[in-house]
């Protein structure tokens, strides 16, 4: 029998507000244990939470960019559970009136992954288990999170991967989170079940908690899919439970039976009052939203004529696309700039994190100046590239490396003379070429280019040399 994977994702995204959700402690990552704490976030009795306005605004932004409806009336609820990562024995979250509902993210196939809800809540502290003890650091307790819950629309590990990557990109674009999975500012829980292909009813699901890498998430899904299929094939049942993924063995193992939602005894948080969001506030936030990455991509390809592969690279990094848009202002071919960025600038950026930061020494204005010289035919592309490399090394403007003389055009007679010189001085290369070694001509062209400092047009030179040799 053929089986189909059915999965839904719950993604926690840590918001990049400066202060925590209910108190004014910093949200900064790391720090000595328990130094970003106050009586509110360590949950001392008698303290009162006060909601950070920016958390609500960030959640609205996240909702609007993922096509959600924003609830005008929203409230906070207590989710009760006993575990030392939250000392209050409950987490302040949202139950039946989340800030956002009913959105979607569109995948490259055109398929929409529906978003059921986005709600705000507080993060828990960090536990370290050691010998018989558990050590607790509450620095992270109270850091604001949004939880983005999809419908069970995902049918493969690839779809899950694309969904998470898209989510990560748009959350970075709207500037509400850095979404660094390795630092835990974005983590996914996967609900996964299998069913025979063609069947409408869902199978029994398991949940895999706290995936902190997209690669591992895809592997865990594949493993869990196969495990569940094996169980069904051998006549056994899938047990509803929470499982943990072990990246060393690439397997999942049971953590605990999944408690019913009711077991959390959700009830309204009596210490916080109703959140009312006016339509005018929603519209104001909508107007301030930046262009969506997929809209940007299609504009780059269709209006600016950037090859799709290159446009995808630029859009993938928010800083690069901002740089790119500054640099192309007034340049008639934006492709010159994208070639500069992907061709030359990328050579000095060694890894993903450097690309994300895009901290290069050349300002967008200086790159534009160089592009204009090339466009106006004042310099050739070879000189432009080598100049850009020098600019990237030193941070100086292109005028420092290109003299007036470099920019003057060379008349054809001079080029012809130089070509003759090249032929006379390289008789071996001429012989090779005449014996059928096509590449030998490049040495001759190179000779001319060198003596004109790259100002001559290589194609014209090549043709002239061929004429002389014949």
């Amino acid at each position: 029998m053929k089986y189909e994977l059915v999965a839904g994702l719950e993604t926690h995204v840590e918001l990049s507000t400066k202060s925590k959700i209910f108190c004014s402690c910093t949200t900064e990552f790391g720090g000595q244990p328990n130094t970003h704490c106050c009586p509110i976030c360590i949950g001392l009795p008698g303290t009162l939470p006060k909601l950070n306005r920016s958390v609500v605004d960030y959640a609205i932004k996240a909702g609007l960019i993922t096509n959600c409806t924003i609830n005008n009336v929203s409230k906070m609820d207590r989710k009760n559970y006993v575990y030392p990562d939250l000392s209050k024995a409950y987490q302040i979250s949202q139950f039946d009136l989340p800030i956002c509902k009913n959105g979607y993210i569109e995948l490259s196939t055109g398929k929409k992954v529906r978003i059921n809800r986005i709600h705000i809540e507080e993060d828990a502290g960090k536990l370290t288990h050691r010998r018989g003890d558990t050590l607790i650091d509450y620095n992270r307790a109270g850091v604001p999170l949004i939880e983005i819950v999809t419908e069970p629309d995902i049918r493969s590990a690839e779809e899950a991967k694309e969904y998470v990557e898209k989510l990560q990109l748009i959350m970075r674009y709207i500037g509400i989170s850095d979404c660094k999975m390795q630092e835990g500012s974005m983590r996914c829980d996967i609900n996964i079940s299998v069913r025979p292909k063609g069947e409408d009813k869902f199978g029994v699901r398991t949940e895999i908690k706290n995936m902190n890498s997209i690669t591992f998430m895809a592997k865990a899904m594949q493993y869990e899919f196969e495990r569940q299929v094996d169980l069904l094939e051998s006549g056994e049942e899938v047990v509803q439970e929470t499982r943990r993924y072990d990246d060393k063995t690439n397997t999942t193992e049971s953590m605990r039976g999944k408690e019913d939602a009711d077991d959390y005894r959700y009830f309204r948080e009596p210490d916080l009052i109703t959140i009312n969001i006016l339509d005018s506030e929603i519209e104001k936030i909508r107007e301030e939203l930046p262009e969506r990455p997929d809209e940007k991509l299609s504009r780059y390809v269709n209006e600016l004529g950037i090859p799709e592969k290159d446009a995808q690279i630029i859009v993938k990094y928010k800083k690069i696309s901002e740089y790119f848009e500054k640099a192309i202002d007034g340049v008639s071919s934006a492709k010159t700039i994208s070639n500069f960025i992907i061709g030359q600038a990328f050579r000095i950026l060694e890894n993903e994190s450097e690309k994300e930061k895009f901290n290069i020494k050349v300002s967008p204005e200086n790159m534009r100046e160089l592009a204009l010289l090339l466009e106006d035919g004042k310099i050739r592309s070879g000189l432009a590239k080598s100049t850009l490399e020098k600019m990237l090394d030193t941070g100086k403007s292109c005028k420092e490396f290109i003299s007036e003389e470099d920019m003057g055009s060379i008349d054809e007679n001079t080029i012809k003379t130089l070509c003759k010189e090249a032929v006379d001085a390289n008789s071996n290369a001429v012989k090779d070429y005449l014996n059928g070694k096509e590449k030998a001509i490049k040495a001759l062209v190179g000779f001319v280019m060198k003596s004109t400092k790259g100002k001559a047009d290589a194609i014209v030179v090549e043709n002239l040399i061929k004429e002389i040799i014949r």
Binding site: K18, T26, R53, K75, D133, L135, D137, I273, T274
Partner: protein, 93 residues
């Protein structure tokens, strides 16, 4: 709402309390009384009044401004057996 023995069994399981038959029956009866009392109070409200929004106060927010956190000594002052700046508890799970 009728409280059944099954409800109480579930609550006992969640609370990790073991109970014999007699205790279960007694507790079911007690719980029923408590729930009925809560219903009585509920019925006393006219349904339109929201306890949580007394005086029609909504949207009490704070601005996103960081203030200094507490000194760690103070944070850990009520703790038995804090270790290297951490709270420490017996391992739970």
């Amino acid at each position: 709402m009728v409280v059944t023995v099954e409800d109480v069994k579930k609550l006992a399981k969640l609370s990790k309390i073991s109970m014999n038959e007699e205790e279960l029956n007694q507790l079911t009866e007690d719980m029923q009384k408590i729930i009925s009392f809560a219903h009585e109070i509920n019925d006393a409200c006219d349904g339109e009044f929201e306890f949580t929004d007394i005086n029609n106060i909504i949207n009490v927010f704070r601005d996103d401004i960081v203030e200094e956190s507490f000194d760690r000594k103070e944070i850990l002052s009520g703790v038995n057996g804090g270790e290297d700046g951490f709270f420490a508890v017996k391992k739970l799970i």
